[in-house]
Structures are given as C-alpha cells and as structure tokens.
C-alpha cells in the first residue's frame, strides 16, 4: 500500500502524520540539513523561513516522535544516546498566546503568568518525552520516585503530586496548567485572576528538569535536550522576550532551536537587565529559504523531493534510492526537444502564417516604418520600396526566432538613429552567417541574453499562451521554497487527471495540463499572500503594479534588460510608506531580497535590490529566471509602492517611450541620471 495517497496533495508538514514526515523526508545532499540545524550543538539556533520553506518539516524531523520512528522499535534510549540529543518539539500555536493580555490586568502580570505557563508546558513535554522513552526501562525503575521528588522540589511550593511516578508528575503539571487556563479564561469575565499562584521561578523548570534527568540517568550524559520551539510568530513581542531570555540564560544540557516565519521574529530583547540577544553571540541564525535558494545543490534536493513523493505514492519503485532516480521525473512532463534556433517550438508560426509578411511582428515593423517616413523621422528610408527592402532583409522564414532577433537588432539601430537600410543589410548578412555557423557576434549576444524574452514575444504576438514547461521550470519557480514546488506539481497533477490523462504512468503530462497547473499555482500563491495580516490589499496592488511594469518592458520593441524581474533603488531616499510596502511584500515572500546589493556608482552607497517571486511570474507572463536589473528612480518607486499610484500609467508610458519605435527620449526624473552619473553601476542585460 502506498505511504501517501496522492503524491503532491499534502504540501504542509503539519498535515502529515509522523510516519509521513519520516517517509517523505529528503535531506540536502551530503547531510546538509543536519549540519544546518545541528541538534547536538548547545548553541541556540533561530531558524527563519518564509511560508513553505520546509521549516516545520525540518523541526518535526528532529523531534522525539520521529527519533522514535527512526529507532525502528529498537532501544529508543540507546538511539537517543547515539543521535546525541532528544528533540522536545513544541508548536507555539498550541499556547493560544493571545489570551495572556488585557482582561483588566497589567502587562507585568501577564509577562509573569505567560512565563509560568510556558514553563509548565515545556516541563510537561520534557517529562512526557522522557517518560515515553524510558517506559518500562530498567534504568528508570529504581530512580523514578527520586526524579519525581527532585522535580517537585524545584517548585517554590508543594505541587501535590499524588503518585511518585512520572505519570503522577504529569497529572500534577496538568492540574497546574488547568489552574492557569481557568484563571486566564475567567479573567475576561471577572476581571480578576482569582488569586492565581505562580509556583515556580521563571526558567527553573525548563533548565532544571533536563538536569535532573541527566544527573539521575548516566546514559543521558552528553545527550543534548533540544527544545524545538516552532511557530514563534504566534507569540507577541513581550512573549518573545521571554523566549529570548530562555535562550540567553540557557543552562546545559538544554538548548533551543526556534523556528519562525521571516516576519515573526519581532524582538531580540530579553528580561535579563534589558540586554539584547545578538546573532553569533547568543544564537546562530539561518534564513532557510535564502539558504536553499543559494544552495548549490538545491536542484538536486528538489528532484529528490519529487522522486520521494512519487515513490511514496507508488509511481516509482523504492528499490533504488532517490538520488539514482532524480533524472527520471523529467520524462513525466511533455516538453519541446532542443532544436536549431528553437525551430521545434516555433514551428506553429509557419503553420499558422502561410505568407511570412503577415506575421504580426513584420506587419508591425512595416507600419512603424511607414509612420516614421511620413514624419520624416528616419535616416536613409524615404519610400515604400525602402521599407520593403528592410522587411526583406530581416525576414527569416525558416527560423522565426532569428527573425525576431533581426528585428530586435534593427530596433536597437533605429534607437541610435542609424541608417536603417545599411543596418538591415548588415543584419541580413550576419543572420546568414549565423545559420552557417560563422561570426554574427551581435546575433549571438542577443540570443544568449534575450532568447527567452523574444520567444515570449513570439507567443504573445501570435496569441499563444506562455509556456512554463518541464520539471526544471517548476524547480526554478519554487525559488528555494520546497512547498511551492509541491504546490505547482499538485495543480499540474490535478489538471492532468482532469484532462483524462494518467500522470506519472505511461504518457508524459501534456503541455496544456502543465500550463494550466502552473497558472493556477501562480494565482494561488498571489492570493494566498492576502491571508497574512496588515495592509495586504495595498501590498498586493503594489506587487501587481510592479509586475505590470516588468510586463510592459518585456513586451516592448526593444527591452533594455533581459529576463527582467528585478529592480534596485536607493533605500534611504524613499518614503516610509514605500519602504513599509516593500518590507511587507518581502515578509510575505512576494518579493525576494537579492543579497548582493548593487553599489551606487557615485556615492558608494548600497542600493536595495529585490526580485519578484518567480511563483507570481506566470500570472503576468514574466520570466522565472533573474538576469537583468532595472534601477527605479524615486518617482517610480513611489508610484509603485508609495502614495503616488495615480501616476502609474504615466510612469510606464515614460519608460516605454525609449523602448518602442519610433524611440523618443525620456525626461529626467528626480533621483535619476539618464546617462552615466548616478544609477546602476553595471551594464544592462549583462549582470
């Protein structure tokens, strides 16, 4: 029987059972995750990641429940010793932390009660975990009563454990927690805490109980008690202060591995005399999705993830390991075969346009040239015959992609006010040379940088849908967030079934199912970001404006940057509103910050650089890969992200003036230099 029903239907780790967490687990090549989390290390860790970065899967994998599964029924205590740690997993969501606030009580009272409640919670988890591990174990039998006595003693007063067993201790802790639950809940109604007593000193249970177990059970010597605290974002700033205090004041053998969303880690302050925790000093920090995005083996990891899911659902055999099957899934998706100048994927053009001159880009060029003649705005072109000669030179019937390259180069020359007849002749000669495998450096350069954009233009101008095909494309879309890859595959799988196909079996999944699945995943991602608090409507509107901005440039006559989904700007020069909008878009992963910020050439100040999340790109017919970067001036940033949104169409129009024939010149705007001077310190399209 398969371990999972549908290979990609479950995309959240919290929806998996422990067994499914174990069976779908894929490590980064060469044990990368273990090195990253290092549960045996006493150094606390903040594991920050966007939604879908795999944080919960990772943290649950190191939890005791999964350790127990991995021990495969053998001696779990020995197994914990072997792994060198015991993972005490806790989700902050379970605390329902929002109730420790208001209700007629002051914040000091709530700080104390929350700390007490969390201590009780963690204490109970440690005892449950160790109690389970040592259940019936000969080592615990003689000393169980002694452990209970010692644990009871670290409370400030008797907790009334009725039985000298770990179960009795759990019952006593449960009663104490109930006492707090009832008092906190009733405070909303009665406006008092009803004489609630705090019966332990802050932090004493969290560090004391592991010490008691370790000192009474020599087999736990050198075993780290790793508190795996997930979903820190569910705690308020004041409550996180307590978590930070535990990290700062940690005592062996305990340590903390804390998971949070990017925006959920709100403070580094502690209750320890107002000190702040520092990365590298009190804790290490991992930005999970950016690490995965930059990881040289992310591709390999993503493929193994897909293979593992397919194995789990019974589509691939489990006999061989995932790494040997990682190329196999490519064959499950229909794609175009590689061909000379992409002839295979552009063959529909010759089928659809019998007369080459009726191709939309040639008709458009013809019209633009004629209008410019009438305005006497062209050098060397004055008659209809001249136009025909130019059209004839750039036409390349056999290879539509080359025809687009020819026209693109012609537009570049037009922009530079060159004699277009002479240019067209040169282009024709170079195009022939290229087909024969000689020279044509300019053509080669354009193909190496703009091929995908020109293919996208071909599709759009012939009213075809954009193509996002093949596993590698889906991996590129995920951009370091494994859940996104699974979501894309989930929708593709569903579309394939809907279209009557038998995915992952005999025939590959059709291009049409892939296209629909990708688009649905893209829309899902965009809409899902709305679910995350704050002014999401405005943030989404901003990201949509940015996408439309890129779209307009990509489908212009002469795009300046290739594969444009990235922008840079001078962070200190923009309004608070624009900064907050960009920050929020980043927190919800709509935008991805590009770490290598470009230097401003003049004043050596660092400019911020962001990329549109590739998951959104198909929704706006944009490329998935990042190459070019466009610097935005202050007006453009404010129009897209700030409070000048009414000017958006004007901003686009100004940009496009120099990108569409007959190529005007743009006015200089605030904070911008149009030639040299301030602005981007690298060549367009060559980054």
């Amino acid at each position: 029987m398969p371990e999972i029903d549908q290979p990609f239907d479950i995309t959240k780790a919290v929806d998996f059972t422990d067994a499914q967490i174990a069976s779908t687990w894929v490590d980064l090549p060469s044990g990368g995750f273990h090195k990253m989390v290092d549960p045996c290390s006493p150094m606390p860790l903040m594991l920050l990641g966007g939604k879908g970065s795999g944080r919960t899967h990772l943290m649950r994998f190191y939890s005791y429940s999964l350790q127990k599964l991995r021990s495969a029924g053998k001696n779990i205590v020995e197994y914990l010793k072997k792994e060198g740690y015991v993972g005490i997993y806790m989700r902050c969501e379970g605390l329902n932390a929002g109730r420790f606030d208001g209700k007629g009580q002051n914040s000091d009272a709530w700080d104390a009660i929350f700390a007490y409640y969390m201590d009780l919670w963690l204490a109970q988890l440690v005892i449950q975990t160790l109690g389970d591990a040592f259940q019936g174990h000969e080592l615990i039998l003689e000393i169980e009563a002694s452990i209970v006595k010692e644990v009871s003693a670290i409370f400030d007063e008797d907790i009334g454990a009725e039985e000298p067993t770990l179960d009795g201790l759990i019952k006593a802790l449960t009663a104490l927690r109930r006492e707090v639950d009832i008092a906190v809940n009733n405070a909303a109604l009665t406006r008092t805490l009803g004489g609630l007593k705090i019966r332990s000193t802050r932090g004493r249970l969290v560090f004391g109980i592991p010490k008691i177990f370790a000192s009474n059970l020599p087999i736990l010597e050198n075993v780290q008690f790793a508190y795996l605290i997930d979903e820190l974002e569910n705690l308020t700033e004041a409550q996180q202060k307590y978590m930070n205090t535990l990290i700062r004041e940690k005592e062996p053998p305990s340590t903390f591995k804390v998971g949070s969303r990017l925006y959920g880690f709100r403070t580094q302050r502690t209750f320890s005399a107002g000190e702040e925790n520092r990365v590298g000093s009190e804790y290490e920090q991992i930005l999970l999705d950016s690490q995965l995005r930059e990881h040289p083996k992310y591709n390999e990891f993503a493929r193994q993830l897909v293979v593992r899911r397919l194995q789990g659902a019974g589509y691939l055999t489990i006999q061989s390991d995932t790494s040997t099957q990682q190329q196999k899934p490519d064959s499950f998706f229909e794609t175009f075969q590689s061909s000379k100048f992409e002839q295979a994927q552009t063959s529909f053009i010759n089928d659809n346009y019998e007369n080459p001159t009726s191709r939309p880009w040639l008709k458009k060029l013809h019209k633009q040239l004629r209008e410019s003649i009438q305005r006497k705005g062209l050098i060397g072109v004055s008659t209809e015959a001249d136009i025909d000669r130019i059209i004839s030179c750039v036409t390349c019937v056999e290879y539509p992609l080359l025809e687009k390259v020819n026209i693109f180069i012609l537009y570049q020359d037009w922009y530079k006010n060159k004699n277009l007849i002479e240019c067209a002749e040169t282009i024709k000669t170079a195009c022939h040379s290229l087909q024969e495998g000689n020279g044509a450096e300019r053509h080669k350069h354009v193909l190496s940088h703009f091929k995908n954009d020109l293919l996208a233009q071909l599709l759009r101008e012939t009213r075809q849908k954009q193509r996002y095909l093949g596993l590698q494309t889906f991996i590129d879309m995920s951009s370091g967030l494994p859940r996104h890859l699974l979501i894309v595959l989930k929708f593709i799988h569903r579309w394939s079934l809907f279209q009557g196909e038998t995915p992952f079996e005999d025939a590959p999944i059709s291009m049409s199912a892939q296209r629909e699945g990708v688009l649905q995943a893209s829309s899902w991602f965009f809409e899902d970001a709305r679910a995350t608090g704050g002014d999401t409507d405005f943030v989404q509107g901003s990201v949509e404006r940015l996408a439309r901005f890129f779209h307009a440039m990509r489908f212009s006559d002469k795009p300046v940057e290739s594969s444009l989904t990235t922008f840079s700007f001078k962070e200190t020069a923009i309004s608070d509103l624009a900064q907050n909008t960009i920050r929020h878009a980043h927190d919800t992963s709509l935008l991805i910050r590009v770490i290598t910020g470009a230097k401003d050439r003049n004043d050596e100040g660092v400019v911020a650089k962001y990329q549109l999340n590739p998951m959104i790109c198909p929704r706006f017919d944009l490329p998935l890969s990042r190459r070019g970067t466009t610097p935005l001036n202050i007006d453009e940033v404010e129009t897209i992200f700030g409070n000048s949104t009414d000017d958006f169409d004007k901003i686009i129009e100004e940009r496009l003036v120099q990108m569409n024939a007959p190529f005007g010149r743009r006015k200089k705007r605030k904070g911008e230099s149009l030639g040299g001077g301030k602005g981007q310190g690298f060549l367009p399209g060559l980054e």
Binding site: K12, V14, G94, N96, R99, R177, A188, G534
Partner: protein, 197 residues
C-alpha cells in the same frame, strides 16, 4: 431530563406593524450602524435607557457616529472582552435590576458571544433579543458580511477552553459550521492547520 423548549422561543414581528408599542424595557442595547434595519429599531423601541455600542472595527468617522450621549465609542483595537466589560461597567449600571432587550443586528459576532457569556456570569438569564432580517441579501450566498483584511484568527475571549501539550500534532479536531463567507472559514481552517477537519 426534560428540555425547556421555550428557552429560545422566537417569533416574527412585522416592521410595518405597531410592534414597538406593545412592549417596553428598562434597558435597550444595540450596536450602532447607519443601516435602516438598525436605526429604525433603535428609534422605535420603547425603553427607559437606550445604549449604542459603536464598534471601532466599523471605522465610523466622527461625523458618522451617533450624537446620543449614551453612545459608547471604544478605543480602537480593544478586544471583545475588554470592550464589552468597559461598556457594561460605564454605560449599563443597573443592568441586573430591570428588563433588558438587545438588538443583535449590528453586533460583531465575537462581541455578541462575549456579551452573552458575561450576562450568564451576571446571572441575567432572561432578556429579549431582536434581529432584523432583510427580505433578501443582494448577493445571495456571495454576500460578504465581513469586509477587509483578516488580521488574526483566535478563540473568542471567554471561550478559550483548556489546552493540552502534545508531542505530536494529530490530536486536535476542528469542526467547521459551513455557511456564508467561505473565505473566513478558509482562514480558520488554515489557522488551525494542525487539526483534522
């Protein structure tokens, strides 16, 4: 055990009739709204004291707020328990001593639920509730009662229950009462993502 089926006894009133003249209460509470369904009832009801509670979440500008001096305008962002408790303490003294009628038409749901909970604690177990139902919702099943961004999903104050730590994540159960506003249910389902549904 016998069940008293009159506890939640309800009947319809015709808004065109003289329904308001037939009854009188000591105190009448309504949640302010500019909608005529709420305004007409407030104006028609006979009561010694009439109180508006103006939900800050509705974001009425000062010129749109009621002018009556017995209108409670809570501070923005006040949670339902703090809001209702302040309202009862400052505007509803003597609520235990007389007859009470609440028009729930304009109430936000968490506030209404908490109000009922607190009345129960105060042992006010008999009161009348009015609700004005529209003839038809313009957008039928697609009517959006809650607009704007969902910022938070959490239990209603006074209904949080008891909590139990668990080593796994498989023990909770979320029961969804399906109805209008599926997008809100989606938020709840997503927020309680550990649960079986």
């Amino acid at each position: 055990m016998s069940i008293d089926y009159t506890i939640f006894y309800k009947y319809s009133l015709d808004p065109k009739s003289n329904w308001a003249e037939t009854q009188k209460w000591d105190m009448f509470i309504s949640a302010y709204n500019t909608n005529e369904r709420v305004q007409n009832v407030y104006n028609s009801v006979q009561a010694e004291k009439k109180k508006w509670i103006v939900h800050s979440e509705y974001e009425f500008t000062p010129d749109k707020c009621p002018k009556e001096k017995n209108s409670f305008l809570p501070k923005h962002g006040l949670r339902e328990d703090d809001c209702i408790q302040q309202f009862l303490a400052e505007y509803c003294t003597g609520i235990e001593d007389g007859s009470l009628c609440i028009d729930i038409t304009g109430f936000m749901r968490p506030h209404l639920m908490f109000l009922l909970r607190v009345l129960e604690v105060k042992e006010i177990k008999n009161f009348d509730v009015l609700y004005s139902e529209p003839g038809q919702y313009l957008n039928s099943e697609n009517t959006e009662f809650a607009q704007g961004t969902v910022r938070d999903v959490r239990p209603i104050s006074g209904f949080e229950g008891l909590h139990q730590p668990s080593m796994g994540t498989e023990e909770d159960l979320l029961i969804i009462g399906a109805g209008y506003e599926h997008h809100l249910m989606r938020h709840v389902a997503n927020a309680n993502y550990c649960s079986s549904k």
